[in-house]
């Protein structure tokens, strides 16, 4: 029985009123765009251009580097200024190999052959076509969408879930998308239903924005597609977490060692669906995305349609500049966003929001006290963990105990952190311990594989010896008979 709210979670102030007051508008053009080649999950893309090449808007400039990789397209027309390491936001400012494009501001578009109508393509062809648009998961995980669709290709009874439950405070880019471009989302849903293939689609949103519900409902009605339904979920953080949303909508749990496809579900962000629509219907590959610029540290709070590669400093300037209270620059939301060391970093496919946070936005931690075992943390944990116990064992670096208590199942939402009276930085501790545990689990998996090979070899040698003994015994018998 599908429930309508997640387990645990927090009721947080969404801080979205100011950034959703203005209509979406494109960001102002900038002179230089920096595109890291590894801005998607999986293998970095390989450049197709070199320094000095002329490029047009939408031209493919990098191709997938492996099975799980993505295309990259130029977000502007101009010249390739360089292909060199540049500070990247997803590496906290450390350099990543990037294609730097000098924008000639002419917006010359790349002319590509008009694709066949999506209904005429087979699911396999359509998946490949989607991949060529450079589409990746725009909810933040930036997993190459074509690879994700391929992984569920042979699942029967697949259901599509479009995640519009934008639960983290400050982020409102999906909300604006759903209000202003609901048609794109619905079209994208229809394309994805054909590409998976799947028979039903649920678009899930939180229940605190009636405007959004209305916009989506009318677009769904317009499309006359009964396969697509809208569902509202209780506004709680983190209702929009993939696993939590699947459980809320469909009442099943994603196995800890499996994927949503194991419970016949494919979950994609509404932004991804809209990007699919723009590519399949309008031949416009993924070259821009909606970014929320918000926080008390910036003058004007709003959502902008930003070409990839635009420096974040330019977005702030576009929104009136910093206020005197600016303190911390966060890429993402207030609960899971990453604090950036400076603003000369480019917008990438994963950049859903920039929070220019001031003291009013931040509620920093007090001094850390010992854990008093109050249990607030386990009451709010959406993954049904005991963060208290994970904390004790993380202090002791007891990896087997951390495994038993489910450290790898932690979704790092930060709810436990939020409610801890002892102000313990729990999410950070767990993030720190995960690599060590992951390494140990990998070592155990390869030891198990080695044991299997060793046992197989021992069995083979024994068999060879037995067969040899049998042959020799037969020979002895024959000789005995003859003599």
């Amino acid at each position: 029985m599908a429930t309508s709210r997640i387990r645990g979670g927090l009721r947080l102030n969404a801080h979205k009123e100011r950034s959703t007051q203005h209509a979406l508008r494109p960001a102002s053009a900038v002179d230089s765009l920096v595109l890291p080649l590894d801005q998607h999950a999986g293998v970095p893309a390989l450049p197709l251009v070199k320094a000095g090449d002329h490029v047009t808007l939408g031209q493919p400039i990098a191709e997938p580097g492996g099975e799980i990789s993505a295309w990259l397209h130029s977000p502007a027309s101009g010249t390739v200024a360089a292909i060199e390491p540049r500070p990247a936001p997803h590496r906290m400012g450390a350099p990543a190999l990037s294609i730097v494009i000098a924008n000639d501001r002419r917006d010359e578009r790349y002319s590509a052959a008009s694709p066949a109508s999506f209904e005429q393509q087979s699911p396999e062809q359509l998946r490949e076509t989607i991949g060529r648009g450079g589409i990746v998961g725009l909810g933040g995980a930036v997993f190459p969408t074509a690879a994700k669709l391929r992984s569920a290709a042979d699942t029967s009874g697949l259901r599509l879930l479009l995640n519009g439950a934008e639960c983290e405070p400050y982020i409102s880019c999906d909300d604006m998308l759903m209000r202003e471009r609901a048609r794109d989302i619905v079209f994208g849903a229809r394309v994805l239903l054909h590409a998976l293939p799947a028979q039903t689609c649920v678009i899930a949103i939180e229940d605190d924005t009636p405007q959004t519900a209305t916009a989506l409902r009318s677009s769904i009605a317009e499309a006359h597609d009964e396969r697509i339904r809208l569902r509202e979920v209780a506004t709680l953080y983190p209702a929009g977490g993939e696993k939590q949303l699947i459980t809320t909508i469909f009442g099943v749990e994603v196995p800890h060692d499996g994927l949503p496809a194991d419970v016949s579900t494919m979950c994609l962000n509404v932004g991804t669906a809209a990007a699919v629509a723009q590519w399949i219907r309008d031949a416009q590959p993924l070259t821009s995305r909606i970014v929320t610029v918000t926080g008390d540290g910036v003058l004007e709070q709003r959502n902008l349609d930003v070409p990839l590669g635009t420096p974040m400093a330019a977005l702030i300037y576009d929104c009136g500049g910093y206020t005197g209270r600016m303190s911390r620059l966060i890429m993402g939301g207030s609960m899971m966003g990453q604090a950036l060391p400076h603003d000369q970093l480019p917008v990438i496919k994963a950049t859903n929001c920039i929070v220019a946070a001031s003291a009013l936005d931040l509620q920093p931690r007090g001094p850390e006290m010992p854990c008093i075992r109050c249990g607030n943390c386990s009451a709010v944990c959406p993954a049904i963990l005991l963060p208290q116990q994970l904390h004790w064992y993380a202090l002791a670096r007891d990896l087997p105990a951390l495994e038993t208590y489910g450290l790898m199942d932690c979704i790092e939402c930060g709810c436990c952190d939020y409610v801890c009276p002892s102000q313990i930085p729990l999410a950070e501790r767990f993030r720190d311990m995960k690599p060590a545990l992951s390494e140990q689990l990998t070592a155990r998996a390869s030891a198990d594989a080695a044991r299997t090979r060793f046992d197989a070899r021992t069995a083979r040698l024994e068999r060879v010896e037995r067969e040899r003994d049998a042959v020799l015994a037969r020979k002895r018998q024959e000789l005995a008979r003859k003599s």
Binding site: P400, A447, A450, R451, R453, F454
Partner: protein, 166 residues
């Protein structure tokens, strides 16, 4: 006085007898213990512990015929885990059995020197070397456990240990 003393002594004796009975492990429990010990070992199958593989070492540990600090590839973490499982005093790995590798190592065959004699292929306990007589031999790095058993048999000394690829 005397009845009280006799009762206490009797109870203590009964408890001690029951404890001694419980301490004797059944055959099935013994096998399970060997499995549990084997699960903690790194399956390098190198023989540095003086036993012919990881499972014989596990069996010896279960029978109390070996100590917990004899496995260099497992490192101090494995020694500590074995000590915890068997209720023995934790100790670091004894350097007489070998040095604990700082990082994982895999074997690498210098193909320019290889003569195709298959001696290393026969020696590898996990079949991680590909090749045949008079054909090139090569180590599948992902399957090499770093046991170094292939190095002594090579007549042209063309195998070295290198850091495992990440």
């Amino acid at each position: 006085m005397l009845p009280a003393v006799l009762t206490m002594v009797g109870l203590a004796a009964a408890a001690g007898f029951a404890a001694a009975l419980a301490a004797r492990r059944s055959q099935r429990e013994q096998t399970r213990l060997i499995d549990e010990i084997d699960a903690l070992l790194p399956q390098t199958q190198c023989g540095r512990c003086t036993f012919t593989g990881c499972r014989p070492y596990a069996t010896a540990l279960a029978n109390g015929e070996a100590d917990i600090n004899q496995c260099p590839p497992g490192g101090h973490a494995t020694a500590a885990a074995l000590a915890k499982l068997l209720g023995r005093e934790p100790r670091p790995v004894d350097p007489r059995f070998g040095s604990v590798p700082v990082r994982p190592l895999v074997a690498w065959i210098d193909e320019s020197a290889c003569i195709g004699c298959v001696k290393c292929i026969q020696a590898c306990p996990v079949d991680a070397i590909v090749g045949a007589s008079k054909f090139m031999h090569t180590v599948i790095a992902a399957q090499c456990t770093g046991c170094e058993l292939c190095i002594p048999p090579c007549p042209v000394d063309c195998i070295v240990m290198r850091p495992a690829p990440t």
